[in-house]
């Protein structure tokens, strides 16, 4: 079954509002990465976390350090250019090779 469950699958935000995306993992993960897919199709890495939280401008991500079973991406003061599809991907703690397992993505639309 799916090891990375991303929610919501789609989200519409008004400019200036805040929201959070979430990834739940069905097993313990070693680390998590968040990506945004731009209009050209390329995935841009936003955060790489082995534990704790990281912040970059209006984006902040957290990875549950205790159970290692979920991660969140917070968007503050959403802007039109934040629109796109966001993916989380995680590495299974028990895997011999650090292979990323991807969620299905959250399609974010920021409207005026």
């Amino acid at each position: 079954g799916d090891q990375v469950e991303q929610s919501p699958s789609a989200l519409s935000l008004h400019e200036g509002t805040d929201s959070a995306l979430r990834c739940n993992f069905t097993t313990t993960m070693r680390s998590v990465q968040w990506f945004r897919q731009n209009s050209r199709g390329s995935l841009i890495s936003l955060f790489y976390l082995a534990s704790g939280t990281k912040e970059n401008g209006r984006l902040k991500s957290a990875f549950d350090s205790k159970e290692r079973r979920y991660s969140t991406l917070h968007i503050r003061d959403a802007q039109l250019e934040d629109s796109g599809t966001y993916f989380c991907a995680a590495i299974i703690a028990s895997s011999s090779f650090s292979k990323l397992v991807f969620g299905q993505g959250t399609s974010l639309s920021v409207v005026p």
């Binding site: 680390s31 050209r40 199709g41 995935l43 790489y48 991907a89 090779f97 650090s98 292979k99």
Partner: protein, 113 residues
């Protein structure tokens, strides 16, 4: 900085045809990956390679071949294109043998007629 270049951007072929996608990176990364992205779904790993001439199967390797001719290039071949294979194929690379940040190309869209 570096860049990952995928060619072609669009690949149109007939059912049953053998089709090849190419990927070049100038990051000097060790590991390279090929992912497939179907509409509305996440990425699934087809093949990866941790060094020149190395090949490892991912979750979706059946129907595909790959080749890591040199450190900077990784190609993917669809051995017999099928209409249900129309998807976007994304190449990525990373330092070390996995576990580090992935950098992606812009994707190649496969169209089977």
């Amino acid at each position: 900085g570096g860049i990952i270049t995928q060619t072609p951007k669009f690949l149109i072929g007939q059912e049953g045809q053998k089709l090849t996608l190419k990927c070049q990176q100038n990051f000097n990364h060790d590991t390279m990956y090929w992912y497939r992205q179907d509409s509305g779904k996440g990425l699934r790993l087809i093949y990866y390679s941790i060094t020149e001439n190395d090949l490892q199967k991912g979750d979706l390797s059946e129907g595909y071949d790959a080749s890591r001719e040199k450190k900077s290039s990784f190609s993917l071949t669809v051995t017999s294109a099928q209409k249900n294979e129309m998807a976007v194929f994304l190449c990525a690379s990373s330092f070390g043998q996995g576990g580090n940040t992935l950098y992606f190309g812009e994707g190649s869209r496969l169209i089977v007629v």
